[in-house]
Symmetry: C2
Subunit: 375 residues, 2 copies
């Protein structure tokens, strides 16, 4: 009578523990709020005031479902990128779109290639659909296109994931490197080009839009430079055939009315976006300055965060994270060696970075007694 549900064998095999822990969970555990929320690569500079106004107006008509076709937003995005609306699918953040794309392509045992230490949510989805992941080491602090291609060929990969600029290191490749990767893409492989950080990257890092390739799909988000992380709106750009495939499985009403309205107004305020990117650029420099003054080495970044090389091992960086959390600073760090020698600091505003500047030396000093100096 009281037997358990018959989960699929795939589900039975998935880990019960998941990698999604928000700063709120840490705050609840420690009993106080963070003074500097610098761990989730959000944009403290906020969205356009027009986006806020649009969301407020939409809140008053949220008794209505949003348009399941995201028509107006999709058309505006198409116009912005000089492609057709048929090249765009809007979804519940890049996270949601990655889940859909994996579901479209990956059955149990199918091969997928990514970089070792790259975006954990992508791995979560691939594992969730039973994909077999090959994770290619970075080359220095950069994802390694040649090694990724070789792995895709060797494993007959259905999917190859590359983020440019990269997370968690913040590094980037020039557009021609990406274009060469696309030219060399195996015939049986789809490339996901995660461009969540395209807006904060140098112009020469982002290839021109080309929606003719049937196996290249690029992903963008309103969560980073647009300052709308909590709204959950991302989109994918690609060939109409692959874009249309999402319609077979997506949650058609998943991007609600406020989300569509906020994203649209944010897109339409490119002046605010430009001003935000300037603030992000300044904050990157400020983080680098604070790091250097404290003997840490900033990794050059094209994103809205900076990875700081602590010059020691993962245990040291983890201990530093803990010391900073105890001092009201929320940051995160990569989980995989050799990148776990770094801590990752999102671009904060003046008060947040002042707090970081005040607390970082204390946190480092607290660790001194605990760890031997690096040779």
């Amino acid at each position: 009578m009281m037997t358990n549900p018959r989960y699929t064998p795939l589900i039975e095999g998935l880990p019960a523990k998941v990698p999604f822990v928000g700063p709120e969970a840490q705050e609840r555990a420690q009993g106080y709020a963070f003074a500097a929320r610098l761990g989730a690569n959000e944009s403290v500079f906020g969205p356009s005031p027009h986006a806020i106004a649009a969301m407020e107006a939409a809140a008053r008509e949220v008794w209505m479902y949003g348009d399941p076709e995201n028509h107006t937003l999709r058309h505006a995005l198409a116009s912005h990128h000089a492609v057709a609306p048929e090249n765009i699918v809007v979804g519940e953040g890049i996270d949601g779109l990655l889940g859909y794309l994996v579901r479209l392509l990956v059955a149990e045992g199918d091969a997928v290639v990514t970089s070792l230490g790259a975006y954990p949510t992508f791995l979560y989805h691939v594992t969730g659909y039973g994909g077999k992941v090959t994770a290619v080491p970075y080359k220095g602090d950069h994802e390694d296109p040649e090694a990724l291609l070789a792995a895709a060929r060797a494993t007959d990969a259905k999917l190859l994931y590359l983020a440019n600029p990269d997370n968690p290191m913040g590094t980037w490749h020039k557009a021609e490197v990406i274009t060469q990767l696309i030219a060399a893409l195996p015939e049986r492989t789809v490339l996901i080009l995660d461009e969540a950080y395209a807006d904060t990257a140098p112009a020469d890092a982002i290839p021109a839009m080309d929606v003719h390739h049937p196996r290249v799909i690029r992903m963008r988000t309103f969560s980073k430079a647009y300052g709308l992380a909590g709204l959950r709106v991302g989109y994918a750009i690609g060939h109409p055939d692959i874009v249309r495939a999402f319609d077979k499985i997506r949650n058609h009403f998943g991007v609600g009315r406020i989300a569509q309205a906020g994203a649209l107004a944010a897109l339409q305020d490119q002046i605010h976006l430009t001003a935000t990117v300037q603030k992000i650029t300044q904050a990157r420099a400020e983080i680098a300055r604070i790091a250097t003054a404290n003997g840490l080495h900033p990794v050059p970044s094209a994103t809205n965060f900076v990875a700081l090389d602590c010059g020691r091992d993962g245990a040291y960086a983890a201990a530093l994270l803990k010391e900073l959390a105890a001092r009201g600073v929320f940051i995160r760090m990569p989980s995989v060696a050799p990148f776990n020698r770094t801590i990752r600091i999102s671009c904060g505003d003046g008060p947040m970075l002042a707090h970081l500047e005040a607390e970082l030396p204390k946190a480092l000093a607290a660790l001194e007694s605990l760890t031997p100096p690096r040779r």
Copy 2:
């Protein structure tokens, strides 16, 4: 070089055409907006003013991701239903939660039982994961628990779906019928009890909360009586084990910051909910009055809509839908016989129902010349 992506065989077999057409698509096609939006079972009476204020406040901090654990909302829901937070999972509407649950249980070829003509989105998900659906006829205008149970036994179903109150007919069973169904549930079957319309139902239609059964999961939403359809927040209530299983696959950041804040404030304003349910009850009576005055027969409803029996066939009802759309009235109808003899009208406010009252006789008259009278 230009070969197509290798979709999974399951995806290749899915229909490209999907059943999700919003009123916005109709409005774009016809070139004018509907005066009476009465087709999507939304609540024109709107959410609590406190919910609107909470969403506006959240819009100003939406640069932050929402809490992936939905902690505050989950705890408030647990308290509201007198269960533990471990009994609640929050998701992107019931639509999103149905998708997750199907994914947890249904592999290709697995049997699922539902009612013929019941919620199309559930079917969409089951088909999307390769489930084999057995659709049991209603008994009169009610879903048929005994026949559903027999079908679940006969097919060794992994999932049995029942909505109480029902959509699209609006009918309901008393709580003891549901309790008996649960008592007789086959050991190998999970029951989804879709209670999207619980808030508008008579108290004796809703069984007491009981979270001890490992194979019963109940789903609720903020989209109907709470007036937040465009926000996309639903939740499931069940045994901690099945609730925990969602964490293996759900989009952890999928319910954003504004969504969590709006739902929480709506939940906390039960006075507004009660007032809304009163308005819905009045609107149901008003729709019934208008229908009867025009020779249509209202099906008794426990939901925020009323199905009107036109006494003819599906072609007639479809033609009536079209005539009403031409007169600014957006409504929908069931797609399956014998329910396609009805049209489904959501509870509107005064002006919308006045518009309906003015236009319905004209639409009926326009059809007179086209169709023979019913014998």
